[in-house]
């Protein structure tokens, strides 16, 4: 589904991603871990198409098209979804209006009519229930005054409704309380299917206990320096990053 080939990107003269290679197949969950500032969020942003980052080389093949040729909204229409590490507040737009527009823009791109109100309502209700979201939430402005945890839950709510093919969850676990983490993780698991794939960016094993990854990658200094199975995450939890980063630093210096 997704094949990233030697991706290099940065900001101004500062190269942040220094040659990323990653292949993700449908039905898979990949976890990306790594120290602060290693480039995890940057990778997520570049996949989603944030223009702030300059792509210096490489490809991001997504089901046969190079995402780098598409605008962020076109990527979204193709089924790329990013759950933001720091969801932003959008003044003036209610959650329901935002989600309605989001759904219908994607449908429009696919040549479909807007979703009938009834169907939309049913869907909103169903997903609110899935994620234990309280009533009254739909009429609030997008993320406006939301607590940290509420913002994260709102991200997964949108994911649940948009049913993307590729979801990138950037530290969705941070800021969630223990119960919320379970609810959100449970929601993500329910949405998993043979047709979609998930990238989970996290610092903690705890999330991976719920959302069990097929692969774990360690990102350091703009490169994936180690990949393994779910047991790699346990190892990192125990030993930290030093033992692999030192080795990598030697190699790249």
């Amino acid at each position: 589904m997704l094949k990233i080939n030697n991706l290099k990107a940065g900001i101004e003269d500062n190269q942040i991603l220094k040659g990323i290679n990653l292949e993700i197949k449908t039905g898979q969950v990949h976890a990306i871990m790594g120290p602060n500032g290693s480039g995890k969020s940057t990778l997520a942003s570049v996949i989603a198409g944030k223009e702030e980052y300059e792509v210096e080389g490489g490809e991001i093949d997504f089901e046969g098209t190079d995402l780098l040729d598409l605008s962020p909204e076109e990527r979204a229409h193709k089924g790329v979804f990013l759950s933001f590490q720091y969801p932003v507040e959008i003044p003036g737009i209610s959650v329901s209006n935002f989600i309605k527009t989001s759904i219908n823009e994607r449908r429009k791109a696919a040549g479909l009519d807007p979703m009938p109100a009834k169907e939309l309502l049913r869907k909103l209700r169903e997903k609110m229930e899935l994620l234990s979201i309280k009533k009254g939430y739909l009429s609030r402005n997008m993320n406006d005054g939301f607590s940290g945890g509420e913002k994260k839950r709102n991200e997964i709510f949108q994911m649940a409704i948009l049913e993307p093919k590729l979801s990138i969850l950037d530290e969705t676990d941070s800021g969630l309380d223990i119960d919320a983490l379970r609810i959100v993780a449970n929601g993500v698991n329910k949405l998993r299917s043979e047709d979609n794939a998930t990238i989970v960016i996290t610092h903690y094993q705890r999330l991976l206990d719920y959302i069990v990854p097929d692969f774990v990658h360690v990102l350091h200094n703009g490169r994936i320096i180690k990949s393994g199975g779910k047991e790699l995450a346990h190892e990192l939890e125990e030993k930290g990053y030093d033992w692999i980063t030192k080795e990598a630093d030697k190699k790249w210096d």
């Binding site: 944030k50 962020p72 909204e73 969801p87 507040e89 003044p91 003036g92 209006n97 935002f98």
Partner: protein, 485 residues
């Protein structure tokens, strides 16, 4: 050499024409424009051209004398090259004055302009409920639905006609809410105003249609000094719409209007404005200077509600205000003020509570984009006798990008402790992060801005009559096109 000759010829010509007017003003009223500049004679010429009675001339002359003693105000948070008041033509009439039986007889060029704005004449005709009085370059060229209103005793005409046909009403109320010497621009307006609208709603009458006036500046270098006087007699009701636009201009044009509203006991006036004067180009060249004095007075149980959507002008200086004189009277101010590129706005309201149990609401939404600067300036004054008065103010700013600015200057003076004042203010920003977030959810940038802006302005746009709200929404979109990213 040739240039020099040309110059002296021009001077000579100017001198000749000026002289001609100087001595011939009482008889020579045929010509379309008068020479540039302002003097006592110019004031006399304007008055004479309009065939005004002596009291009107006296009023103008008194205002003029006050004006020459006054200084142009500098306290507003705007900066601009002050107009040269001697370089402005103070009176100009359209080349011919067509008397139109219906709106269909309108100049096709003008029709085109209305179409561009989305307020085609055809549409207006369908909206049979709208009476349109079009002020083109200072003189009314079309008035409609007059008879229908006449049956109810409603007077809706140009202020020039009102001075001729209803001198008692004009004399009684003109300058009572905004005295000539109120400020520099009101004095100027009082001296030279060329035309505007007059409206009188008799006792107990509910005006059955929205009264609407479209203004435009047409001739280069012509200052516009509209004068509006609206009187709602006891227990009457009226909704008045004012909208304007100006075509492209390279030189700055001055617009200094005065609007006076009088709401007698139990009367209700709703005054809505969509202002779209030429804001200047993207480099900040040209554009209209809009220095407006708008004020209304409420007697017992009366209500005045100002709604404005301000998208145009290079510099805006405008504070629609309410004097809540009568007990239980209500003042409202709903405003959206957009500044883009190099536009500057200093706008807000004054709520002066004098009567008991008076209530005022202020909802001001500023949107700044480009390198513009938007300011809210508001005053809530609660006098000693205004017991149990209340004010609620909400002033929000929305910034697009990070090169623009916004400031809020809320002044509050309370002289009585049974009154209650609430003030809320927020600032939000639409930056790349917000837009990327929307993009990531499949919502394109232009659409995201439209959604955000409409949501943000909802409380104000909801106050506008339906067809105006649509137009205002369109204007907001147009004026913010390409403002971020």
């Amino acid at each position: 050499m040739i240039e020099k000759k040309q110059l002296s010829e021009d001077k000579l010509l100017e001198k000749v024409t000026t002289t001609e007017y100087k001595y011939g003003f009482t008889t020579d009223i045929e010509s379309d424009t008068i020479p540039k500049g302002l003097s006592e004679d110019v004031v006399r010429i304007i008055s004479a051209k309009k065939n005004e009675p002596q009291w009107m001339l006296d009023y103008r002359l008194k205002a003029y004398k006050a004006w020459i003693e006054m200084e142009e105000p500098e306290w507003a948070n705007v900066s601009y090259a002050k107009p040269n008041y001697q370089d402005i033509i103070y009176y100009s009439a359209p080349k011919q004055k067509p008397v139109l039986d219906s709106l269909d007889d309108l100049d096709p060029e003008m029709k085109k302009m209305f179409d561009k704005l989305g307020i085609s004449i055809n549409e207006q005709n369908k909206l049979a409920n709208v009476a349109v009085d079009i002020v083109m370059d200072s003189v009314s060229v079309a008035t409609s639905f007059k008879e229908k209103l006449g049956d109810l005793g409603i007077i809706f005409c140009s202020i020039s006609d009102a001075i001729q046909d209803h001198p008692k009403l004009v004399k009684k109320y003109l300058g009572t809410v905004v005295p000539a010497r109120d400020n520099f621009f009101s004095a100027l307006n009082s001296a030279v105003f060329s035309d505007g609208s007059f409206c009188y709603i008799p006792k107990g009458i509910k005006c059955p249609m929205e009264l609407s006036t479209y203004f435009r500046i047409n001739e280069a270098g012509t200052g516009q000094f509209e004068r509006t006087l609206l009187i709602a007699d006891e227990g009457s009701q009226v909704s008045y719409l004012e909208g304007c636009t100006a075509p492209m201009r390279d030189e700055n044009q001055l617009h200094a209007a005065v609007v006076e509203l009088i709401a007698m006991d139990d009367a209700d006036i709703k005054y809505s404005t969509v202002q779209n004067w030429y804001p200047g180009n993207a480099e900040g060249v040209g554009g209209v200077f809009n220095f407006v004095t708008k004020r209304g007075i409420c007697y017992k149980n009366a209500k005045i509600s100002w709604t404005q959507v301000e998208t145009g002008s290079a510099v805006t200086w405008k504070y629609p205000s309410c004097i809540l004189k009568g007990d239980n009277s209500i003042g409202e101010f709903f405003s959206v003020a957009v500044t883009n590129n190099f536009q500057q706005a200093d706008t807000g309201t004054k709520m002066i509570h004098l009567g008991k149990n008076t209530k005022s609401t202020i909802i001001a939404k500023g949107i700044s984009a480009g390198k513009s600067n938007g300011n809210y300036r508001g005053l809530v004054r609660i006098a000693k006798g205004a017991t149990n008065s209340r004010n609620f103010s909400q002033c929000d700013s929305l910034l697009m990008g990070d090169k623009c600015g916004s400031h809020t200057f809320p002044y509050i003076e309370v002289k009585n402790n049974s009154s209650k004042i609430e003030h809320e203010a927020t600032t939000s920003k639409i930056g790349e992060d917000q837009l990327f977030y929307c993009n990531q959810r499949g919502i394109g940038t232009e659409q995201a801005i439209t959604l955000i802006v409409n949501g943000y302005c909802k409380d104000v746009l909801n106050q506008l009559p339906m067809e105006f709200a649509v137009e205002a929404q369109k204007l907001l979109e147009i004026s913010l096109e390409g403002s971020v990213g």
